[in-house]
């Protein structure tokens, strides 16, 4: 363990310090410090005499009447003070004062096993040669429900926009996402907060309800979500989508339902959700109208019947037991499955749940792919990976591990202007993305934000294409685990990829197949 001595820098802002202005007055810091870091000399002036002794407790900061003291860790607090870091002490004080646990938005922060310790294997002389992005073709398109539905969804890129509800997001943000889906030919999603009328035409590329002018080519698709709170759902709602997504869980709070606090249930949100203004809209954590998998199958049967067997049925899973859960979704009749990892989660959630519950995104992919292979439906029932996806590189890695596509949630909020302040749940988003306040919403122009999202998606698709071609492929379906290597042993253990410099995967991986246990 590194020594705590000398781990903190103590600074006093003299323009605020009472003693500096009036020597002899105020020696609070010297009185409260248990380690004699501060001392008053004979002339009555305060000095920092022993800052190597500071342990970073910030008692002086708390007691200083003019807030003049700053304590900064010279080494990471996690090295020298864990588990009682400043942020941990503050969190406990906050709970002790209020009796409430903290809520926040924007998913897991900090390190968890992820894609960063995986590298892409380029093509050289011994493998099929690379292709030239500028002159040769590369197929990025993915189709959902090709053999099972009258109207399959043909995504131009292997991307989708994960479910984020109107209510959690502003109307302008929902419109921007729909416009971006139209511009890039991908799938938008209503989320569980009901259907915003504008979404129906914008996502298909039309600028108005009359659908006379197609403003955005090629036009995208809209999935309507069927969830546990059933906000704003009806037969017409289901029929207005290009797909129905059955929500089982989400990365931000797997095992819990949605939390839309009354502060965000404005008249407009209440109208779309069909509930009283200002009431908390708390989705149940499970379906009250489902007791077992047989019921899920029956539910899927009537959802297909209501939508006249035309549109795909998607499932959305939180990060739990991927092998068994993906199998259950296939048995229930899914045409595509989105699985959201630990890092995922734009939703408001208790901080400990968003931070500490669920399987990391990377670790979900091999068991999910194995489940699809064992059922003989790999690449038929499409698998989309969500949770912390940042760019075309992450997408490439997910695809090479066996997914059919990825979803970008938080990244698209950031593309709209968000800087990840994590205050989504308060309704005071300074960019008007997760706010219902008309003044804040006015800051977000849906067309401009839609263009920014589309730009981000186009750029990420280009990255994906570039990586696919430099590794010797003209089609994303050719990608495999041979195109990736793990750079550390943990990543190799989780992903089943070969460790760099080694010719086989770790011993318990049998030719890419793992023991399908999630316990």
């Amino acid at each position: 363990m590194p020594s705590i001595n000398g781990a903190f820098c103590v600074s006093v802002m003299k323009d605020r310090c009472i003693n500096f202005q009036m020597p002899g007055k105020c020696a609070t810091c010297a009185e409260v410090c248990p380690y004699d870091v501060f001392v008053m000399d004979d002339s009555g002036s305060m000095h920092v005499q022993n800052y190597n002794g500071c342990v970073g407790c910030r008692i002086c900061v708390e007691f200083c009447p003019e807030d003049a003291i700053r304590i900064n860790a010279a080494e990471s607090e996690y090295l020298v003070r864990s588990p009682w870091t400043f942020s941990q002490v503050e969190e406990i004080h906050q709970k002790a004062q209020s009796g409430d646990y903290p809520l926040r938005g924007f998913g897991t922060m900090g390190f968890s096993p992820g894609f960063d310790n995986i590298t892409v294997v380029p093509s050289q002389i011994s493998s099929p040669p690379p292709l030239d992005k500028y002159r040769e073709e590369c197929d990025l398109a993915v189709t959902i429900g090709e053999d099972s539905c009258e109207n399959p969804i043909r995504l131009k890129y292997p991307f989708l926009i994960p479910a984020m509800s109107f209510g959690a997001l502003s109307k302008e943000a929902k419109m921007a996402l729909a416009i971006a889906a139209a511009q890039t030919g991908i799938l938008a999603n209503t989320g569980e907060g009901g259907l915003l009328p504008e979404e129906t035409w914008l996502s298909r590329g039309f600028e108005s309800q009359e659908r006379t002018l197609k403003q955005w080519e090629p036009g995208g698709y809209l999935a309507v979500q069927w969830s546990t709170g059933r906000w704003g759902t009806s037969a017409d709602y289901l029929r207005s989508g290009d797909a129905v997504e059955v929500k089982i869980g989400q990365g931000a709070k797997p095992g819990m339902g949605g939390h839309l606090l009354g502060e965000k249930v404005t008249e407009e949100v209440a109208a779309v959700r069909g509930i009283p203004v200002g009431t908390d809209a708390l989705s149940p954590c499970r379906y009250y109208d489902v007791q077992d998998l047989t019921d899920v199958k029956r539910m899927v049967a009537f959802l297909r019947d209501v939508t006249e067997y035309k549109v795909p049925i998607l499932f959305k899973l939180g990060p739990s037991r991927p092998y068994e859960d993906v199998k259950a979704c296939v048995e229930a009749g899914a045409d595509a499955i989105s699985i959201d990892g630990l890092v995922g989660g734009t939703g408001a959630s208790p901080a400990i749940v968003t931070q500490g519950v669920g399987i990391p995104t990377l670790a979900l992919i091999p068991p999910s792919v194995q489940a699809l292979k064992d059922l003989g439906v790999h690449h038929k029932v499409k698998l989309f990976v969500l949770g912390g996806m940042r760019n075309g590189l992450d997408a490439y890695k997910a695809l090479a591990l066996g997914a059919d596509g990825v979803g970008f949630g938080a990244a698209l909020e950031i593309a709209m202007g968000c800087r990840a302040c994590m205050a989504c749940h308060t309704g005071r988003c300074p960019y008007g993305i997760t706010s219902q306040d008309p003044e804040l919403r006015a800051r977000l122009d849906p067309v401009e934000a839609g263009q920014r999202i589309a730009n981000f998606l186009d750029a990420s698709a280009e990255e994906l294409k570039m990586l696919t071609m430099l590794s010797g492929h003209g089609d994303i379906r050719e990608l495999s685990t041979e195109d990736l290597r793990a750079m550390d042993i943990n990543t190799a253990a989780i992903s089943g990829l070969k460790l760099v410099g080694h010719s086989t995967a770790l011993p318990w991986w049998d030719n890419g197949r793992m023991e399908p246990s999630n316990n």
Binding site: D15, G229, R230, A235, E263, I275, P276, P284, R298, F302
Partner: protein
Amino acid sequence: MSVVVDASKGDLRSVSAELKELIIEEAVTIKESGHLHGLLAGFKGGELIVEGDSGDYLGALNDGATIRVTGNAGRYLADNMTSGTVIVEGDAGYGAGQYCYGGTMVIRGSAGDFTGVMNKGATLIVEGDVGDEVATYMLAGDLIILGNAGANLGNYLILGTIYIGGTWASLGHNTLLEDGLSEADRMKLRTLFDQYGVEGDPDSLTKIVRLSERPFYKTKSAEPPEKAPLPAPLG
């Protein structure tokens, strides 16, 4: 003689397609459909008579049809109904009338546990008894029970009204017993009873409403939290 559809050999898709092809000007009787789950989902009109017992999820997402079941209904009857009428001559299973936004459901017999959960505006009438956890997290509409209820009736009631003729094992959180009925209540109940041939006296019913507007979270101020003022520059 009304139109009769024999469902005994069909699956959901074929029976549903057959029903949708009929130009419904008179009542359609459906025979032997107990093996079909999710039948008559999302119908926008017509009068449909299910002879005998029904399967689960009958009349889910009903959006205007009048559905009568001559026997007992399975589980999750009229799930997520938005308009129309569903009448069951016998009993209904677990979870009848959940997630409804509108329409009317009448059960002549008894209904199971979790009836009317998350009702958001429908009128649900049960002439017999209901089970436990009925009307959990109801947000609007009316639930009228002429018989008795089990445990935890109306748990986390947000809005809407429960009227009950008999007794209950226990009431859930956020419920409040009101003293007697208003004239508007009486009128509403009498009209419903006449319309659906329900034998009952509105004045014998007890009215249950919500206790507080926001039982889950304390009401928080919409104002931003006060920022500590910066100290005035010294000297």
